[in-house]
């Protein structure tokens, strides 16, 4: 698997527009819709994207799009590090430990980039047991509820 930045010239916008990751659960639909319709706006929201060092990346295996990840500097909470906006495994690549492989690849990459601190944080839907199980396995902690979401924090 390789991780590479979003590249409009390589037809990535079209690939994202057709990306699927939801099994039909509402919070999975939300992520899928965000990737399809809003991820590039999030990335191109200048100057916010510049200051917050936003990155949208594709994880591929051969010609297959395995996952989409999006991250930026933490600005939502008063700790320093990387904010994980999205980590979504494509529908046909889910299960069999793919989520963990994608996560490990992402963290290996985050070790190499410039950042303000060593925290890794994000919001997880409270009903998203699958993601919470993965985050617990890789050492993240539940910190606080936030409406329908929960703030979870780990380290890079």
């Amino acid at each position: 698997m390789i991780l590479r930045p979003f590249d409009p010239a390589a037809g990535d916008a079209e690939r994202l527009a057709g990306f699927t990751c939801s099994t039909g659960l509402p919070f999975e639909d939300e992520v899928e819709t965000w990737i399809r319709t809003q991820a590039t706006s999030w990335l191109n929201d200048i100057p916010r994207s510049t200051f917050q060092r936003r990155v949208l990346a594709l994880i591929e295996e051969g010609d297959d799009l395995v996952a989409v990840v999006a991250w930026q500097d933490i600005v939502r909470v008063d700790i320093e590090g990387i904010w994980l906006e999205v980590l979504a495994v494509e529908s046909s690549h889910q299960h069999a430990g793919q989520g963990r492989r994608v996560y490990d690849l992402l963290v290996a990459h985050l070790h190499t980039i410039e950042r303000e601190g060593g925290h890794l944080a994000g919001l997880v839907h409270r009903d998203n047991d699958r993601s919470k199980r993965l985050l617990g396995d890789v050492g993240w902690s539940f910190i606080s509820p936030s409406d329908d979401y929960e703030l979870w924090v780990g380290s890079i």
Partner: protein, 237 residues
């Protein structure tokens, strides 16, 4: 979330060092330097487009607390607060704010405009400043209140916070009605001899980011949440 303007000037520091008195701005800076807690500039901004009317030098607003602690003789806490102020002055967000102010800012910049122009750097700087202040607050001997000036009636202004609580304040002299609607952070300090001083500082409410996957503004961790953060996690299975 209402955040205080995270910058201050030497004039404000002079006012805090000698409440109600007259202390020159440069004397205030010298007094802080002599105590080993010098104010480190974040940004130097020409007062006019031509730079003909002098300049504005901005410092971390935590220096207001440093000045207050120096006045109170609590040098140990002043040094801890000064260390936090110096760290903020070097933060990446401060660099973005400094660059924007140097290019666009006058003596009285609009926080919302600065925040928009810096891609949220002002919000980040203000969030980290509020965070440092919250952790130091037990030692600062002040009470703080953030809200909007909801009403100005005669010589009294009413500041209402996000939970609907109201704080009456003496309205400023001059044109108090211009104060209506302003976002402010109010620090109330008990001085020796039973006097109370109220410090009113400008504040802002960060604009929503319409592209976030989950909408919501900045959040300051509570002590309990911070404790959860520092708790050792179970090793990976």
């Amino acid at each position: 979330m209402i955040l205080a303007w995270p910058l201050t000037t030497s004039s404000e520091l002079a006012g805090v060092l000698r409440p109600g008195g007259h202390l020159r701005a440069d004397s205030a800076l010298r007094a802080l330097r002599d105590k080993g807690v010098p104010a480190q500039p974040i940004s130097v901004v020409p007062r006019s487009g031509r730079g003909a009317d002098g300049r504005v030098v901005w410092y971390s607003s935590l220096m207001v607390d440093v000045a207050r602690l120096v006045r109170a003789g609590d040098l140990a806490t002043a040094e801890a607060t000064h260390a936090a102020a110096a760290k903020l002055a070097r933060h990446r967000s401060a660099g973005f704010v400094a660059d924007w102010l140097a290019e666009h800012g006058g003596p009285d910049p609009d926080p919302a405009e600065v925040d928009l122009g810096t891609g949220g750097a002002l919000t980040r700087l203000a969030t980290l400043t509020a965070s440092a202040r919250a952790r130091l607050l037990p030692d600062l001997r002040i009470e703080t209140f953030a809200g909007r000036v909801a009403d100005v009636s005669g010589r009294v202004a009413f500041v209402v916070d996000e939970d609907g609580r109201s704080l009456p304040l003496p309205a400023p002299s001059g044109s108090p009605m211009a104060w209506a609607g302003a976002l402010v952070v109010v620090d109330t300090e008990e001085l020796s001899g039973g006097a109370t001083t109220v410090w009113v500082r400008p504040a802002f409410d960060p604009a929503a980011d319409l592209n976030e996957r989950v909408p919501g503004g900045p959040h300051l961790l509570t002590p309990a949440e911070r404790e959860r953060l520092s708790r050792p996690v179970a090793t990976a299975r």
